[in-house]
Symmetry: C2
Subunit: 229 residues, 2 copies
């Protein structure tokens, strides 16, 4: 009973050349997360002096550190994470510079309007607020600038296929509604990005592939960008 | 104390266009692994009817399913997985078709000789044996065709930077020696690939990025290929 091959997809990601930027948060023992999430354990299992090699047991939530939400995170009938379109998770992307937003400030349609012409069906859109600089303070998880429900609906209307951000989640109060709007449209969300200040205003290339966790809701990812220089 | 940005690297991965192939094994509760590795648990933590969303706790070895070995896996002074060069983990790659090899047969220098001209410094080389078809039988972990120590040294001499394979590890008996040769040269190893029969003989584009697990030895990965069609 070999594992069935996954669907194949056609992609054209253009010429990928430039400076490779790591946009991912560290996974480590006791790293902060949302109060109700399972706490992260990074447990040495063997060492070079016991079994001859270093090996680690990870105990982590699927939504720890930089990670992807699959539609099944909020929708029992939604796509599970191993079935998310990988062509949506990689390719040319757009950065929205929202670094002027302070704590708890709304990010609304008007803030994205200058980029509207570039936000076309299939777009990968990344929201930069600089909020990752607050880590590891616990207010990282409560006081971030947030995506309004109106903006979420607008992004769905524009056909955005992947929404990334350096906040831990799009909205601290209307968290259920905003996820239902975005994930309900089949969008994937990448949360907990960092160091987006190194991505300029121009087009760049983004990659964040989820682990193939069968039948589940999300996955930690290694997210990167490639920026022309 | 914001996380320090990682080093930047210059990359040129060429024009990436074609058919996207998923080359990764599923992660699931009770999935097989090596006898001494921590057993994988995929544990539902919350559901839409408890907290309002599906959330999972993963308990997995850093070497479960398709994964990357960092030099620190066998070398206490070697690079840890979050520091591995990401430009080595993605880019043009070469497939060696070794699907004629049976169980426990050696893969030696002579088997790679036809590809020698393409195996140049910086090469990403993927070994296809078809061994993933044996899963989920436990003999997957013991009876696979294997990389000889001579071949390992030869690959180091050719300057291979990433070695991938559809076996669970390069060598079942000389496992320590083969890892010390490969990882000691700073190579990264991707083990447990699958469905390499879908990659043809021509050049293709490979990607397998490790999670940013601070200070540790390896990481599960989502490995993909892009093949021109």
């Amino acid at each position: 009973m070999q594992q069935e091959p996954a669907d194949q997809e056609d992609v054209d990601w253009g010429h990928v050349r430039g400076q490779l930027l790591d946009l991912s948060l560290d996974i480590y023992h006791g790293a902060p997360n949302f109060p109700m999430d399972p706490k992260p354990g990074v447990i040495p299992h063997s060492t070079t002096s016991t079994l001859g090699y270093n090996m680690t047991q990870l105990v982590i939530a699927t939504h720890q550190a930089t990670h992807m939400d699959a539609p099944y995170h909020f929708l029992d009938e939604g796509l599970t994470v191993e079935r998310v379109s990988l062509s949506a998770c990689m390719g040319p992307a757009i950065l929205a510079d929202l670094s002027h937003k302070g704590p708890r400030q709304p990010i609304d349609i008007a803030d994205l309007a200058p980029l509207a012409a570039r936000i076309v069906p299939g777009a990968r859109l990344i929201l930069r607020t600089g909020w990752d600089s607050v880590l590891p303070e616990q207010r990282y998880f409560t006081d971030f600038p947030f995506v309004t429900l109106d903006l979420a609906k607008w992004l769905v209307g524009r056909g955005v296929t992947l929404l990334g951000m350096d906040m831990p989640t799009p909205n601290p109060t209307d968290w259920k509604e905003v996820h239902l709007i975005l994930l309900g449209a089949g969008m994937v969300i990448v949360e907990g990005l960092c160091h987006l200040e190194r991505v300029g205003a121009g087009p760049f290339w983004f990659c964040a592939l989820p682990l193939r966790i069968r039948g589940r809701d999300g996955s930690p990812v290694r997210a990167i960008g490639v920026v022309a220089r």
